[in-house]
Symmetry: C2
Subunit: 237 residues, 2 copies
Amino acid sequence: MSQQRAQSSGVASGGGPGFPDLPEATVARLPEYLRALHNLADAGHDTVSSEGLATAAGVNSAKLRKDLSHLGSYGTRGVGYDVTLLIEQIEQVLGLHETRAVALVGIGNLGHALARYAGFASRGFHIAALFDADRDRVGELVNGMAVRHMSDIAAVVADEGISIGVIATPADAAQVVADDLVAAGVTSILNFAPCVLAVPDGVDVRKVDLAIELQILSFHEHRKSTLTALPAKVVGQ
Amino acid sequence: MSQQRAQSSGVASGGGPGFPDLPEATVARLPEYLRALHNLADAGHDTVSSEGLATAAGVNSAKLRKDLSHLGSYGTRGVGYDVTLLIEQIEQVLGLHETRAVALVGIGNLGHALARYAGFASRGFHIAALFDADRDRVGELVNGMAVRHMSDIAAVVADEGISIGVIATPADAAQVVADDLVAAGVTSILNFAPCVLAVPDGVDVRKVDLAIELQILSFHEHRKSTLTALPAKVVGQ
DNA sequence: AGGCATTTGTGAAGACTTGCACAAATCGCG
DNA sequence: CGCGATTTGTGCAAGTCTTCACAAATGCCT
Ligand SMILES: NC(=O)c1ccc[n+]([C@@H]2O[C@H](COP(=O)([O-])OP(=O)(O)OC[C@H]3O[C@@H](n4cnc5c(N)ncnc54)[C@H](O)[C@@H]3O)[C@@H](O)[C@H]2O)c1
Ligand SMILES: NC(=O)c1ccc[n+]([C@@H]2O[C@H](COP(=O)([O-])OP(=O)(O)OC[C@H]3O[C@@H](n4cnc5c(N)ncnc54)[C@H](O)[C@@H]3O)[C@@H](O)[C@H]2O)c1
């Protein structure tokens, strides 16, 4: 059993044929760079400077250059980065060249919104199956896809080659669902339920908790109202 | 204009009557401790050790103790922390003793789910108003509350004392909405649209991007499949 | 061809965060 | 009352991340 949150930031690779060490903080920013690059490409830019891309991604340009330097040297001094080439490189590193199949579990309020969201498909993910424990929900069509019962999960995950599971069930069901997903062969989980999940080594978990985000904002609101006239800057995530 | 992401981690207070410096990393964990404490309280626990709370919150116990030490000393050596007292303290620090009014903008797929979500109210937030630019949506009842048009935003934010805005519009509308929210007097924004927002100093922005979360998981999936037999631990957020 | 403006890639310094290890404090019990 | 078991609070060291500052590389212009 491993607990939430990482302690080792460096993503080791050894001397194998794989990719070089990539700091976790860098990995977390690459998707943001990628999004900004797609916008630039759509706007017709062929190249972009670190300054321009950094602004578009909302980061410091030195940080951006250091991040990109970890992928190798794909910029041209005096010119900048080739937008198309850099997109290609980042997608390669993030493993987005192959579409990943995702299972969505818990088709309630949030699950419906996620199932209907087009933004996943356009960024390399394919929602391959919807699951719920409620027999009344099974069979319902959401965005053209039928909701299946949890009892099918092992077979479907195997058949569809699903590697990522998204949990959108109530918190008290999340651990059971996580166990089911892991047993079915899922090795990455995105958890929307407000709870800590225990999973075996080798399984990655990321958590999104909206109430936590609001509470962090609340802290800064509180601070702003308590202490007058402080130059409160934008809060990092 | 300030850009996304913070650089200064220490949350300054000067020597004023307010709270001591609180590292940003600590602030981000306090809500998690709070949730775990509420669970413990519901389960009938009066006190909890740093080890027990750390496990429930998914963190290292030394880190938890250091975090709590920043709030002052509210534990008892040899015993642990008083659950009720600690809840009280953390809520105080996070500014949750007063309910905060929230405006939700963009009542589409995601907006509907957020509007119907009960978890906000139970954690100190009150969704005070729903806004959309689509005249066909205005007037629609969601969870017993009518959707209002964007043109009302200034008046409603002032009337309801709204300090936090949640943006759930498409990305290309998000900056305009942010500008409207700020102009209306909102000083904290939670942004679900996949884009960087520019806001004046004094306004805090936090971003939630589901595609980014999936892409980070994708990176680790890619790494796991490329490099064999590595003890990949759980990924921190 | 040479010089100049531009921009990358990176060494080094500094800031922040984590985790260990242990002294100090507290409680329960004999 | 004193002692041992327990658990907090924290100094310190190690690790990670950010930022500055500048040499090196590149392209453009004359
Ligand atoms: N709705 C939101 O905007 C929102 C926001 C933040 C967090 N969340 C969190 O997301 C989760 C889902 O929220 P929601 O509003 O969609 O809740 P919901 O009650 O509308 O939906 C939960 C769904 O999970 C299904 N479910 C329950 N137990 C299950 C199990 N063991 N296996 C499979 N499916 C099961 C239920 O049948 C239901 O369809 C909750 O944990 C909530 O705290 C929701
Ligand atoms: N649905 C999801 O699960 C999901 C997941 C991740 C991210 N997102 C992001 O959240 C945002 C909303 O997603 P969605 O699926 O709900 O989209 P949607 O199209 O269903 O809803 C968007 C809503 O915003 C309204 N709107 C448009 N322009 C506006 C303006 N200027 N002012 C006020 N309202 C305006 C529209 O009328 C519509 O009701 C998008 O940016 C999307 O990328 C959604």
